[in-house]
């Protein structure tokens, strides 16, 4: 008991220096959570920071932002199947804001903040906190700022604290992504007073917030041992939604996928995140566990062909490759069927959405014919893939290498360690790349803007440059009405299908396995688990 009281007195120290080992447990004064109120989650790797807005934050930090901080709004939840609840990207519901009103001229939106909303410190949430937090997001640089800009949230002047509980966002331009972008994990709300008090002089309190939760979300971080585990405990005074059923979550980092599978199969873990497709398929087949499989919105596995450099600057050659791809073999051999086929579609898009099946399929005759038409002589090239894509990327690459050999294309495989992968892509010289991309905001123009636009972002891996494409994408992004939007989307989809700088293979699933006792699984664009809705027992 002595130890507990000591640790309670110094939780900040324990968090700031998680190395000291003995972390505070049971910080709540009441009885410790029972096993039924405690969830054990295993994941490949955990957060490298507690601040999703900070530079260099890894994917799991989204989960911290989601569970430990509130945003003004969240996406409206909608049932997906009997295991999973998904979301409607086009509809929002209140979180910190109890209501909001778009100005009649369409130039701003005003939020009313929940009167009873409190931070973990007990202080009431005010509009100033929201402003500080959003100012921070657009100013701090790195991913947070880029993501904010994707919804035309670019300047601190756009955010106005009208009074204690009223907050206004002024629009820079008419952008359908502005409102949804307020519901992604980035624009979350800090306890600005506490943050500033602990900032040590840094205007955005970067070091402090990296190591400390300073907000009002449904969970607090009880202990964080980077690379080992993160332990969350419930904030019992949370008002932005129904009080979570779970009181404690232990998220363990288990790098080995086999171990994660073994843990979930033997019942030692409640939820296993990020299983390889093979393991997931087995678990589905065995049927002893609950499984959630959501096709990841806006995402595809693809092969990018460098459209700026020979030989793949030849459209016929790219089409020949698209016809030679061993689609079915890849889906079976590398993804074990865990994906939605993106081949064999009609010659024009069946639906105006993304992703959508392309008109290609495996047809070596057509591939040969196009190859002959292209006038490209047999050549050797390199295919890049991310070492981190593990059991998926490598077999896919091997199958592609084998399938393109009959066209006279000799491929050397180049597996790039995860860290270097983005650097390689940035060079824009890789002739062929296997990659996976998914945008948080599920609009076709969002995907095309990042991937096909001539502004040549890092994700335009093929360095595809086509003014006609740029016009179509730009027009769709800021289309005044539905009809013009549809026309432009159809336009760029068809152009993309014809020019095939990207050869889509499949839309991947987001696969999560959990014990039968676990309920309330919620899928969000950031794909991280949301503990607020989970139930156990």
């Amino acid at each position: 008991m002595k130890r507990r009281s000591f640790l309670k007195a110094a939780p900040a120290i324990a968090l700031a220096a998680p190395a000291i080992g003995a972390a505070p447990r049971d910080a709540a004064a009441q009885a410790a959570p029972t096993r039924n109120e405690t969830l054990l989650l295993v994941q490949e790797y955990g957060p490298n920071s507690l601040d999703m807005q900070g530079i260099g934050s890894s994917q799991p930090v989204n989960g911290v932002a989601l569970n430990c901080y509130d945003r003004l709004v969240r996406f409206k939840r909608k049932p997906f199947d009997d295991v999973t609840t998904s979301f409607d990207i086009k509809a929002l519901e209140p979180e910190l804001a109890e209501s909001w009103q778009e100005a009649s001229d369409g130039t701003s939106v005003t939020f009313k903040i929940r009167a009873d909303a409190r931070f973990h410190s007990g202080r009431s949430v005010t509009a100033r906190d929201v402003k500080w937090s959003l100012d921070r997001a657009v100013s701090i640089g790195g991913f947070a700022t880029t993501q904010m800009a994707a919804g035309s949230l670019e300047k601190a002047e756009q955010f106005v604290a009208v009074d204690d509980k009223t907050f206004r966002v002024d629009f820079l331009r008419r952008d359908k992504l502005t409102m949804p972008n307020l519901a992604v994990t980035i624009p979350f709300v800090f306890d600005s007073e506490k943050a500033i008090a602990n900032s040590g002089g840094d205007v955005w309190a970067k070091d402090y917030l990296k190591n400390n939760i300073c907000g009002g979300g449904a969970f607090k971080v009880e202990a964080w041992r980077p690379g080992t585990e993160t332990i969350y405990s419930r904030f019992d005074d949370w008002k932005s939604g129904p009080l979570p059923k779970l009181r404690r979550i232990i998220a363990r980092d288990i790098p080995s996928p086999s171990t994660r599978r073994a843990l979930i199969e033997r019942g030692d873990a409640d939820i296993s995140y990020g299983l390889p497709p093979k393991d997931f398929k087995d678990l589905v087949d065995a049927g002893r566990l609950k499984v959630s499989a959501v096709p990841v919105p806006n995402a595809i596995w693809y092969v990018a062909l460098n459209a700026a450099l020979p030989p793949f600057n030849n459209v016929k050659l790219r089409q020949a490759v698209a016809w030679a791809m061993p689609y079915e073999h890849i889906l079976q051999g590398s993804l074990f069927g865990r994906g939605v086929p993106m081949w064999g579609g009609p010659s024009t898009p069946a639906e105006l959405k993304w992703p959508v099946p392309f008109p290609y399929s495996t047809n070596i005759e057509r591939a040969r014919a196009l190859m002959a038409e292209s006038g490209v002589a047999p050549f050797s090239t390199t295919l890049l893939y991310d070492a981190g894509s593990g059991t998926i990327g490598e077999p896919m690459a091997v199958l592609i290498k084998e399938a393109l050999a009959p066209l006279g294309i000799t491929i050397e495989l180049n597996k790039i360690p995860g860290a270097n992968f983005r650097g390689e892509l940035n060079k824009k010289t890789a002739p062929m790349v296997i990659n996976r991309f998914g945008g948080w905001l599920d609009w076709p123009d969002y995907f095309f803007f990042w991937n096909y636009h001539g502004n040549n972002s890092i994700f335009n891996i093929p360095s595809y440059q086509n003014p006609a494409m740029d016009r179509l994408i730009d027009a769709a992004r800021f289309a005044p009405d539905e009809a013009s939007y549809d026309t432009n989307v159809r336009g760029f989809l068809e152009l993309g299908m014809h020019d095939v700088p990207f050869v889509p293979i499949v839309q991947p699933y987001h696969d999560v396995a959990m014990q039968r006792t676990i309920g309330g699984y919620q899928f969000w664009p950031c794909r991280e688990p949301d503990f607020r809705y989970l139930t156990k027992g």
């Binding site: 260099g56 790098p255 171990t259 033997r266 030692d268 270097n420 983005r422 650097g423 994700f459």
Partner: protein
């Protein structure tokens, strides 16, 4: 004591060389740290900004100079993967690695030293050949493979060992940190449930490592026992009719231990570095897996910190060996 200090001073050049080599190696690691950490939708500007923030845009000698300056102040830099100061990370993880390695070494010793003794005492016998085959098999096992196999058999199939979830069961809390060794810390407060839990978690990875340590220990024990058993003073002891127990343990083994201790030190340092894969398989929060993850992520500071820690450990270890040898061998005390 002078001798020890001299040795310490003598190892400084190697330490400096290690620092330089590691620095250069981590700087030529391919991949652009700034790009990696700028996030998926980074613009060229944000990448440049991060590069400047990390000091990666400055010339190499300048980077090295600031690295050394920080080092002098005990600052090993920040890990970008865990977001923590490298020193904090290493201090937090070192006990885990040390406990694992030490247990691996103890298991290895517990098997290898008796094996080596038997092989030497019954040189050329079936036991000798068996010992040779066993230890050679041990050293021939790829740890990454044995680890997986052990987990599969003892956890997944048989369910004898607990889930490979790191140092403790998820629902147990670690004992208050005194040494950082869970077994010791738990024993200190008499928390035997935690002790058993920690021991259960430890056993598979420690055995995996221990198998690897068998060969060098058993071989040196055998060789050194053979040399000692052939020595004249053993003949004297036999001629004095001392019991074979006194003969082998008090007379032969204690003398044979001198080279064994030296080898143990080498094996320990080798295991500490080589357990990276074991730590990965068993989700062991040690410094080996930490370094590998950092290396894969082109995250220089943790790699530098790790190598430096290991180099210092290596030097300290050699000192410790000297001390042990002095304790064991009166002759060494006079040199």
């Amino acid at each position: 004591m002078r001798g020890l200090l001299l040795r310490l001073a003598g190892s400084l050049p190697a330490l400096v060389a290690v620092i330089i080599v590691t620095f250069v190696l981590t700087r030529v690691l391919p991949g652009d740290t700034a790009t990696y950490f700028a996030g998926p939708t980074a613009s060229a500007e944000s990448i440049a900004q991060i590069r400047a923030e990390l000091g990666l845009d400055r010339p190499l000698p300048e980077q090295f100079w600031s690295y050394v300056q920080a080092l002098v102040h005990g600052d090993l830099g920040m890990s970008l993967t865990t977001g923590q100061p490298v020193l904090t990370d290493i201090l937090a993880r070192l006990p885990a690695s040390a406990e694992l390695t030490l247990c691996g070494l103890l298991i290895g010793m517990a098997i290898a030293i008796p094996l080596g003794i038997i092989a030497a005492v019954r040189q050329g016998s079936l036991a000798d050949h068996a010992c040779r085959v066993i230890v050679t098999a041990g050293v021939s096992l790829p740890v990454f493979f044995t680890g997986l196999l052990l987990v599969y058999v003892f956890y997944f199939l048989l369910g004898w060992s607990p889930a490979p979830l790191g140092r403790l069961d998820a629902f147990a809390s670690p004992p208050p940190a005194v040494t950082g060794f869970y077994l010791i810390d738990a024993a200190l407060i008499g928390d035997w449930e935690t002790w058993r839990g920690a021991a259960a978690q430890l056993i598979l990875p420690a055995v995996t490592l221990g198998l690897f340590a068998l060969a060098p220990i058993a071989r040196i024990t055998r060789a050194s026992m053979l040399a000692v058993l052939g020595a004249e003073f053993i003949r004297t002891a036999r001629a004095s009719g001392l019991s074979s127990r006194t003969l082998i343990l008090t007379y032969a083994l204690r003398n044979a231990l001198l080279p064994v201790v030296t080898t143990l030190g080498m094996v320990f340092s080798f295991l500490l570095g080589a357990n990276v894969l074991v730590e990965k398989v068993f989700a062991w929060p040690g410094i080996g897996s930490y370094a590998v993850e950092a290396l894969i992520a082109s995250d220089g500071a943790p790699v530098q910190g790790f190598v430096l820690t290991m180099a210092i450990l290596y030097i300290l270890l050699n000192l410790a060996i000297d001390l042990v040898n002095r304790a064991l061998d009166p002759r060494a005390r006079h040199t």
